[in-house]
Symmetry: C2
Subunit: 302 residues, 2 copies
């Protein structure tokens, strides 16, 4: 079984993980969690989002979080934005990379943006210009890339069209996102092979949810297709709004545990990241669907 | 991604699933569950075990269950046995295949049997003879084949020695069992390739637990190595005694769901098997770690 020897984890817990949590964490707690995942070896962190405060109250203080975190020169601190105002806030907060999201599904996109996918990407143009002027990098994310809770299957061609539109506005780092946990291994493998062949200069991320138990199998499929970048969330925080009570983001500690068992280097200290995940569940005051928090790491690794 | 187009599921819920459940189900309920999984398309069912009633009170009535189930001529009804007395009960109950289990780990084996692995297999000889005289087939299972909660890693060679010992007494159908959820995809793939190369005439099963979230990824690895037979338990029943609260057996509906998404034929009706799993959770009076029971099947399949 041929898989890459190194993989990169983007810790999305402070953004995608926390955004639907009822309990609002204070700024100090968020800052400490971000500092702690970095201390555990994470090199890429999504620290929050610069969207309208009313849209995501939990992340209304991302400006302040961004200013207070301890900055490591070899760590990338990203934030989600959706318009020019978000880019302005990112500039003011000293964030060096922003992420723009569009949905592969027209129905899902319409619900979130009230515009077509191509229009959404076209409207990103102002964000790109402002970011470029301020030397801020821009990455893209394609949600519902592996299936839509309204439309069902999403054709690879739909995803390809969005990647082309992103390319036109200069975005070459793209996260393929399984927003509601509909991806399955063969699909992930085939999508990964296709997009790498069509856009060999792009940088790819997989953002996988464990809603139907397939996230780790999908990561394996991605690895086998040569993908080496994966989003994950501490303690598996971030449920699925379409399936209340079901698992959401794949847990960072579950991913690192699997990769470490297979000798794939992530640079992340498993014990330390388990420690952070434990603190997270205390802070949000509920258990999560993390496997390693319940079962502990395999004896093979002890 | 090359995987087989057909796979077989052995429903182990009535045995491995129920055996640790506190609430003792009555005979009628067990009979109905077995009849219902068969009606959903399952062709191989582990209906119970003929071990000492005090060892597993939940399964003390397997004799009666075996007599009352509706028999389909194309379905295999198996039971676990551990000695000649068990084989005698299997004969009396009209069970056509029995399963003998040994552990790959000496420590785990010692704890369960108080004998060495080789001695345990040697002592199976009387069971084999009695079964053969009564035209009952015998299969073998190797527990902790992918890791032991006491010893940690298990060398492939240890497993190979047990397969050889099984071969000597005429057992060629073997289930490789990840008793406490320590298996990981690359290991499963390599083990599957090795045993198939060394023992090309054997028939292989994988018995995987989802303790650390890897069961479906491990099934994918097995499929990629050409394994087509998998144990699974309705609703994911059957926790891990070494990690209370953690997931146990991979859920039948989660496996069938994944395989159906990829076009792998199992002959099992997904909706019907979800229906059985729902009844199971009502009967045992608690929720389980089944993904599909919580999230529902993917929109792609609707």
């Amino acid at each position: 079984m041929l898989i890459p020897q190194t993989a990169y984890i983007c810790e999305v817990g402070p953004r995608d993980g926390l955004q639907n949590e009822k309990k609002i964490l204070d700024i100090d707690t968020k800052v400490k969690l971000i500092n702690d995942v970095v201390a555990a070896g994470i090199k890429i962190v999504e620290i929050g989002s610069f969207v309208h405060p009313k849209a995501v109250p939990q992340l209304a203080d991302t400006d302040e979080v961004a200013k207070r975190i301890r900055r490591s020169p070899d760590v990338e601190y990203r934030a989600l934005v959706s318009n020019v105002r978000g880019v302005e806030r990112a500039i003011a907060a000293g964030v060096t990379k922003v992420k723009l999201t569009v949905s592969a599904s027209e129905s899902h996109n319409k619900k979130n943006w009230n515009r077509s996918t191509q229009q959404v990407i076209h409207d990103f143009d102002d964000c790109i210009r402002l970011a470029a002027e301020n030397r801020i990098e821009v990455s893209g994310a394609i949600s519902t890339a592996f299936g839509c809770p309204f439309e069902g299957a999403i054709a690879v061609q739909q995803v390809v069209e969005i990647i082309k539109a992103f390319e036109k506005i200069g975005i070459r780092e793209i996260s393929l996102s399984d927003t509601t946990g509909m991806a399955y291994p063969r699909q992930v493998y085939e999508m990964a092979v296709t997009v790498q062949q069509l856009f060999p200069q792009n940088e790819w991320w997989l953002h996988l949810h464990n809603t139907r138990g397939l996230a780790l199998a999908n990561i394996m499929a991605g690895l086998q297709a040569g993908i080496i970048r994966f989003d994950a969330s501490f303690a598996g925080l971030g449920g699925c709004p379409f399936a209340p009570g079901a698992s959401g983001n794949v847990a960072t500690e579950d991913v690192v545990h699997m990769l470490e068992l297979m000798g794939v280097k992530t640079g992340v200290d498993l014990d330390k990241i388990i420690g952070v995940a434990n603190v997270v569940t205390q802070q949000v005051e509920h258990q999560t669907e993390s496997f390693i928090l319940k079962a502990g790491k395999s004896k093979t690794l002890q």
